[in-house]
């Protein structure tokens, strides 16, 4: 699967710009703040129906304008697909495929698989569990549309349950039977989500270990383990019942799948506490590339690979090693941003991959 053409209107710092991409390697060079990352984000948006960086669509339109449009032409399983995202104020955002709007954005997820790697990904290891759940959900959703449906349902019921707890706290009238109803409604999607997360980690670990060894050249085994409140009490309704008093006092749902986590390990040591900066970086990069491998294997399709500034703060030796890995690996279409104009092109020219280079300056692109 690949994107052949991209047309941006009022997206971030692009007023009106179109791009023709190479089916293999596309290199976006330019100084900081010129719009390289925005271009990656536009491609990500067409695949996932939202920005990877900015949760609120309102902040994605060009300064001084209030709407944006992203149009992409894809080659997918020998068919051309035209995907358009339109965000117009006071209207629901629209995502259309070949001119037909999707009734639900979630129906599009997984159609164009994508993996994005950015320097801030190291936050996955150091920050709270929410980022790691997002990584889990993002990956499984691209593989299993039913997972996303159950996840949306679980979150909707959870929001109602939390609102009910808050109201009960304000009114002082505790309605146990209403909470029991919500527990029942969490059960069905909850069990599905939990099973899928567990199965994912099991399938993911051998791939992760292998990718890590290739990248770091080290002997350690990288792995992640799934942590869920359900491991102590496998019956979700029983688990919720046990926490009912706590919920009642804190006015929110204190247990459930929204408290799941992934723990990253090198051999049997938690990454968070014991890893060096280099190990941390290698681990996170492996995590993302393993995500790529897993999606590729399950969908029998190569996801788009978007690499944002991944050479940042790496020494020359590591950059060469990483680039060689990317160029020689079995990847499909790849997008790389770099502040160094020469670095990537020299590496690529020494092989004979098909590539195209764009110089990005202030929302304008020049093909080099």
């Amino acid at each position: 699967m690949e994107i052949t053409q991209l047309i941006l209107t009022n997206f971030k710092n692009y007023e009106k710009e179109s791009f023709q991409f190479s089916s293999q390697i596309n290199c976006l060079v330019g100084r900081n703040g010129m719009g390289k990352t925005n271009l990656l984000d536009a491609i990500y948006y067409l695949c996932m129906g939202k920005s990877y960086f900015v949760p609120n669509d309102r902040y994605l339109s060009l300064h001084g304008t209030d709407f944006f449009r992203i149009e992409g032409h894809f080659d997918r399983e020998e068919k051309r697909e035209k995907i358009v995202a339109k965000v117009i104020p006071k209207k629901k955002k629209e995502l259309e495929r070949n001119g037909v709007p999707y009734a639900k954005l979630s129906e599009h997820i997984g159609f164009l698989p994508v993996v994005i790697i950015i320097p801030d990904d190291t936050l996955l290891a150091t920050e709270g569990s929410e980022a790691r759940r997002r990584f889990l959900d993002n990956t499984i959703s691209q593989l299993d549309p039913l997972y996303l449906k159950h996840l949306i349902q679980y979150q909707k019921v959870l929001r109602q349950r939390n609102a009910a707890l808050k109201q009960m706290g304000e009114s002082g009238r505790f309605q146990e039977s209403l909470l029991e109803v919500y527990d029942l409604q969490l059960q069905m999607p909850g069990l599905y989500i939990s099973e899928k997360r567990e199965a994912f980690v099991e399938e993911f670990n051998p791939i992760l270990a292998q990718v890590y060894r290739t990248i770091s050249g080290g002997a350690e085994t990288a792995s992640c383990s799934y942590r869920s409140p359900l491991q102590k009490e496998p019956d979700l309704m029983e688990l919720l019942r046990k926490h009912r008093d706590k919920d009642r006092i804190l006015h929110r749902t204190t247990t459930g799948l929204h408290r799941d986590d992934l723990v990253f390990n090198l051999d049997e040591f938690p990454l968070k506490r014991f890893a060096s900066q280099g190990q941390l970086k290698s681990f996170i990069l492996s995590l993302k590339l393993a995500q790529y491998e897993l999606i590729k294997k399950n969908k029998n399709q190569r996801p788009l690979l978007l690499l944002d500034d991944i050479f940042d703060k790496l020494d020359h030796h590591r950059v060469d090693h990483l680039l060689a890995l990317l160029l020689d690996g079995d990847f499909g279409q790849v997008f790389i941003t770099d502040t160094d104009q020469k670095r990537v092109s020299q590496m690529i020219e020494s092989r004979d991959s098909s590539y195209r280079e764009f110089l990005i300056t202030k929302g304008k692109a020049t093909a080099l």
């Binding site: 109602q160 039977s177 409604q185």
Partner: protein, 220 residues
Amino acid sequence: MKTTTLSRSGYKFANMNFSSKLLENAVDAFASLPGIGRKTALRLVLHLVQQAPETSEEFADAIVKLRKNIKNCQVCHNLSDEPVCEICSNNRRDKSVLCVVEGIRDVMAIEETQQFRGLYHVLGGIISPIEGIGPNDLHIDSLIGRVQTGEVKELIMAISPTIEGDTTIFYISKKLRDLDLPVQLSTIARGVSFGGELEYADGLTLGRSIVSRIPYRKDE
């Protein structure tokens, strides 16, 4: 609210300028109704001005009488002229079956089909704490009361198949179970619509329709 639109005669007006305060008040009143913008309000008002004065009097009279005299049926909470509505007081209707709905419009829609000869119970909404609606804001207690009389054998839950709708159905069924009331609970069938084509049905609906398929009968 400022509107910049081309009127039918082709000139642009940014804001309505009224030559008459009376006209402006009437337009404001109509525009306060749901689904009516200021341009439509103006058209309606101008229409009334062009009619005989009695037309407006009758019109206003109908609204005032409606608001003064309309009641909620004491039994089913549907709108009614009398303390008990025409459906509830109709002796030819089957009192052993209750159709439980969210609102008055649902009663009208089901009556329109002429397929149901039982009675109704209007809940007045569905449970949605996010919108500030809890079980006590709905007519659930009076529903339980009706079931407790022993006359009702079946409750048909004709409620939207949403998460909030499911919450409401679960909640009512739980209440009935806790009180050990022997009443049969059913929900309206969910699936592919009549005249609908399979390829356009959404995945969830189609999936459910396959799982809860029904035996084929030639006479249907």
